[in-house]
Symmetry: C2
Subunit: 130 residues, 2 copies
DNA sequence: GGACTATACATGCATGCGCATACATTGCAA
DNA sequence: TTGCAATGTATGCGCATGCATGTATAGTCC
């Protein structure tokens, strides 16, 4: 067991399988219900959620890449989709004109608030049980 | 709903974020190194690994769908790719001609055995540290 | 200033995924 | 038997992703 032999290859592999299973179970349920009730994907929800935590002007995309687990190109398009839906607006940074500030809109905050209820519900149901 | 208990919405959400981060970190490292050293994706490795555990004739795709966290269509194509690489062979089930048995080949077992070394290494490095 | 490198974001492209559906086979009922 | 629903797999399609690259701006060294 894990006390006598804590880190054998086998126990690491089965721990990884558990992580995969858990992630897949929760993610699939979230994806389904967020999409159905709020037309948001899990990644879109996550991005909105991170943006909502930033004060004021939002934050640079570069900073979001670190928060969110996604390539820079995927994030660029993700913000584009949220922008097209009016949930986020983009603004070029004045002191570094390479940078883009993304900022959640009021409509974005509304959609997020509603989706958070669904997320809490799904997590309560799926995060801890089989 | 939540009593004076630790499972508030906030703690559930942050637990989910931790799970996302952990999954992303390990998965990205595995994907990179399995691909680089063995030309296998994480899902391909996982499928080979499950198939190797089945005795004798392999198992039906339907059964693999339950083991692996993937849609039926994705699994069908995944097995197709493994087949094209000679790591798996397919056989129609004799008693139910709708079913397909997938079975790992000797070459598949070799690739898997080599990849398992890499996997163990990556897991030892990434599963438990930040 | 001019040239070169580094950084931030956008985009062409190839790929894997899920959904819906098609197709083949099985089983069940009338 | 015939007809029809159910099951197992394959496939057309649209979409999100990562990689490589393009474009613009910033910073550095001469």
């Amino acid at each position: 067991m894990s006390f006598a032999m804590p880190n054998t290859d086998v126990s690491l592999a089965s721990e990884w399988r558990d992580l995969l299973a858990r992630h897949a179970r929760v993610n699939a349920a979230l994806e389904r219900e967020l999409q159905r009730d709020h037309r948001l994907s899990v990644t879109e929800f996550e991005a909105l959620s991170r943006l909502a935590e930033k004060d004021g002007d939002g934050c640079r995309l570069q900073q979001l890449v670190d928060d969110i687990h996604m390539s820079q190109s995927a994030l660029s398009r993700l913000i584009g989709r949220l922008h097209d839906e009016g949930l986020v607006h983009r603004r070029t940074c004045s002191d570094d004109r390479r940078g883009i500030f993304a900022c959640i809109t009021d409509e974005g905050r509304e959609r997020l608030a509603q989706a958070e209820v669904t997320q809490a519900d799904v997590l309560a149901r799926t995060l801890h049980d089989a």
